[in-house]
Amino acid sequence: MWRETMTSGERMAALMRGERPDRVPVIPFLSGHAAVVCGQPIARISDDAEESFRCQLLCQEMYGHDGSPLYAYASAGGWEFGGEIEFPVKKYSGAVIVTRTPIQTEDDVYTLKVPEDVSKAGALPIALALARKQAEHGLPITLQIGAPLTWAGSVIGEERMMGWLIKKPELVHIVLDKVSQFLIKVAEHYVKEFGAERLLAFHGAATETNKLISPKQFETFSLPYLQRINQACLGLGVGSYFIHICGEQNKNLKFWQQVPMTKQTVISVGREVDLTTVMELFPEQIVAGNVDPTLIQEGRAEAVLAQCRECIEKAMYHKGGFVLMAGCDVPPHAPPVNVFQMVKAAREYGRY
């Protein structure tokens, strides 16, 4: 009978070194779900570093997956720049939402301040507290460094920003500049506190989807700031990156190729992007994806397993390495048995 010969830590370390681990690693992409399976309110994942870390670690142990705890959420930026957020406490809420954006008028753009002390801005105190837990446990220390246009959307308001892309592009650029300054300051803070070596810098790129913006708008409003932030992080010595290219972004991929990154970069894609395409465009990087979160929520275990197998068979021998992952955050109330299919598939079909 086949047995795993590596711990999760060893498996991920081998992957990052460019070596083949014992099996395909699995990072299911769980946030709120980790709280749910621990019997905690979903909000604990984002409002309480201690409990978030505990739930994520217990969840990892239960499933036997390889994704260590991290702190990030898609609507980051609004709180950090002085807006208001709501943790997911309402029925059906699964993620943090921005309830009041820092920018309400055009004039607000000019007065928007980059927080002086990033460690006290918005969710950063919680993120840093979780990072200290990661450090204590010898785990990768994650920091959210974007994606800048997604952050700008949380600062300006998504719909307002969409209009400004056409009518007031200069205002969007001003905000993107300030967001980039902030994110680089965050990276500098993490490097100072934890050292660059163990850092894993994370981009969650949701607003960048071609369901919203054109590839040309991505090239104009996203790419320059992604390049600036990543270049700065590389300059600080940050060697590992995790880029979640959320949703439909097929037409943006050629621009993502132009973002500075190392080989130790995980490129995670949604169901809308074919793994084969990503493998061709990022031969040296680690490709991750792309099990359908809706299927994990609503499908039968057999169907989830079959889709996991399809992903594994398509990508497990990718030169840069492959991680089986959901195409986006797994719904908090997804049936645990469906989530487990990812690990089961890696053990069954992802052995090296």
Binding site: Y92, G94, L212, T294, Q297, D329, P332
Partner: protein
Amino acid sequence: MADEAEIFSQLKQAVMEGDEDVAVAAAQAAVAAGVDPQRAIIEGLAAGMAEMGRLYEREECYVPELLVSSEALYAGLGVLRPLVIASGKAEKKGVAVIGVVQGDIHDIGKNLVKMMLEVNGIEVHDLGRDVDMERFITATQETQADLLCLSALMTTTMIAIKDYMPAFKTQLPGVKIMVGGAPLNQQLADEWGADGYGENAVEAARVAVRLLETK
């Protein structure tokens, strides 16, 4: 009337270029020239939006362009619609209630669907976002709506649609229910008992019109 064709063209172009000022000016010109405001809406403003919808479906324009066009559309409608209502000649294909489900505040898609429904002659009552089941039911009953449109952008919140559906079926007999949003698909819409699904705003409007025609 040569002027009429010219005005329709200006209205259409104003919408396509997202120019609110030109849309208002062209609408005012239409009024001054005695053009039937209903025709100015349909052959000018709505025609422009329909063309934008076609470009969107061909991926030749994206949400920012659609939103800017919709602002111009609404600016023009602000001039013309009161006149249509006052004339008593307002035609509507049906009444719809629309909203984003409880726990979800992503409403760009919903706003685009609302706009495309209005362009297609459907009276829309917008409940906004984070709408619970009771509000959907009450609003649909109060407005005697033919169509109830639900939007969810997240896999968490889409479950609300599934949960609401049995109550809608029993308490809103005869009302057609449409669903949409990034995590949904036709299969889920069918499984949950929705009458229609639109992958995007343009498609949603097409489905809505079809549902109302067969109602």
